[in-house]
Amino acid sequence: MRREWMEIVEHSAVAKDTYRMVLKGQIAEEVKDPGQFVHIQVSDRFFLRRPVSIADVHPDKSEITLLFKVLGDGTQALTEKQTGDKLDVLGPGGQGFPIEEDVREALIVGGGIGVPPLYYLAKQLVEQGIKVTTVLGFRSKEEAFLVEEFKELGSVYVTTDDGSLGEQGLVTDRTGELRGSFDTYFSCGPTVMLKAIANQLDDVRGYLSMEERMGCGIGACFACVVHTPEDDEKGYRRVCCDGPVFKAKEVVL
């Protein structure tokens, strides 16, 4: 983990309010696992950094790709950055998705702006010869992104709230039917979605990537803490460093 001024080498809109940004710097060479994130200082107008998942890595070019959605002032201000600008980045942070040796068939379930880290995961899985099936949920067609990219890696099912792309409905409408076609699932998205998936696939090995508001982003401030089930002695996990990825039953959703 380091603090670095990374250079913005690409920056463009990819869907409604959603942007893709490619950053160059040494942090790219230090990414360990898919699912890790960077902690971005948008500008000196903002007191806290913003966590954004690493969506892709090109260690050879020292580049990482981020996909972010405008949700507030900080992400709005991020859209104004230009190619060539330097960005104050802390990372790579956190524990990503582990890929156990015995994984053969993986299900990936992403919702909205939870989709990005799953893309780098899917690429890693395929590289290791694991079959990948992906279910992506978006609000609508205009908010969808990365769908074509996932198609290159395996079969993809898309659901949208309004049916403007794929099937109308929730990701869980599809994941239930896919039961049996995978031995491990990996998911990232709204907490309600994670909860629904974890309940539905209760008996399957699964990993979830969580979100919480952060202070330090490195494990020191205890801002990002989540509960663990009662039998856990420690009683908590920090999203920024114990996570953001947890075993499905490791934390209370």
Binding site: M1, R2, R3, Q41, F46, F47, L48, R49, L90, E212, R213, M214, G215, C216, G217, I218, G219, A220, C221, F222, A223, C224, V225, V226, H227, G235, Y236, C241
Partner: protein, 310 residues
């Protein structure tokens, strides 16, 4: 320039240390730089038993600052002594334990347990984020005096009392701490604040209120230190919104003998190290020839600064 400072129980290589709760027990920052460079380390709060703290969200951003309501999460004093302090002891820097609690007895127990392992105690009678205890001790001078003297009587190391800014009369609290036998003061803790999200219509922080820190509160801290320096003869560790060497000089001039850097560690994990490196040159730039010359420097004359076209 020699920037070392000697305070009760603390021989500081330099007057800069991380503030309690903003540096954990050091491990996370040790990956960024050698902790031996620090003037001291103030540990995260210790309570008698393990505490989970408040529900998340525990932080919110504000203009030039942040709110936090961690709620004193910590593994309890015994575990801190066993599992956290040994790591910090591998570095050549004094340790200050932040002692918290809900009752007089808890404060005594924590102080008595942890004082053997550290160089000084910071008595946290000012945490606004726990329902019981904490802040009452810091707003009622009689309670403040009593808890100070009880902790003093069990502690084998000097005690710095950490004051809350959420009071009408900070001098009264400082005097109470002095009357209780404090060896020094630490000020300020956070100002109680709240943010409401217009979209959800609710407080952003689950605990509703949180403690405000960052540059937003610096003028309040400077004012209080300036007041207390004149009224109470105890060394002060100053904090609140420090981000630059100019900020540090402002604190020292107001009357602090050393400073702590809190939430700025979240912006830049290397901040303490960088400030330590920059301080001697900054002091020279303003014409100071020793650190003693800076401490309390704003008190030596009372005329205000003029304004000239130069």
């Amino acid at each position: 320039m020699d920037i070392s400072v000697s305070l009760p129980g603390l021989d500081l290589k330099n007057p800069i240390m991380p503030a309690s709760g903003c540096f954990g027990f050091g491990k996370e920052f040790a990956q960024f730089y050698d902790l031996s460079e620090l003037g001291a380390v103030i540990l995260k709060a210790a309570t008698g038993e393990k505490r989970y703290g408040n529900e998340a969200p525990r932080v919110a951003e504000t203009s030039s600052g942040m709110l936090n309501a961690i709620g004193l999460q910590n593994p309890g004093v015994e575990k801190i002594v066993k599992e956290e302090i040994p790591f910090l002891k591998t570095y050549d820097t004094p340790l200050i334990a932040n002692v918290s609690g809900s009752t007089m007895e808890e404060y005594e127990h924590v102080a008595a347990t942890i004082c053997k392992e550290v160089d000084a105690l910071e008595l946290n009678i000012s945490c606004p984020n726990v329902k019981e205890g904490g802040v009452q001790f810091g707003t009622d001078p009689r309670l403040a005096e009593e808890v100070t003297s009880r902790v003093k009587s069990v502690s084998t190391v000097p005690v710095y009392v950490k004051l809350s800014p959420n009071v009408t009369d900070i001098v009264a609290l400082a005097k109470a701490a002095a009357a209780g036998g404090a060896d020094g003061l630490s000020m300020i803790n956070t100002l109680t604040g709240m943010r409401i999200d217009p979209a959800t219509r609710k407080p952003i922080i689950s605990n509703q209120t949180g403690g405000l820190s960052g540059p937003a509160v610096k003028p309040v801290a400077i004012r209080m230190i300036h007041q207390v320096y004149q009224a109470v003869n105890l060394p002060i560790i100053g904090m609140g919104g420090i981000e630059t060497t100019d900020d540090i000089i402002e604190y020292l001039l107001a009357g602090a003998s050393a400073v702590a850097v809190g939430s700025a560690n979240f912006k830049n994990p290397l901040i303490c190290k960088e400030l330590i490196e920059q301080l001697p040159e900054a002091l020279e730039r303003y014409g100071f020839s020793s650190i003693e010359e800076v401490i309390g420097g704003a008190h030596y004359e009372t005329a205000a600064s003029g304004l000239f076209r130069a």
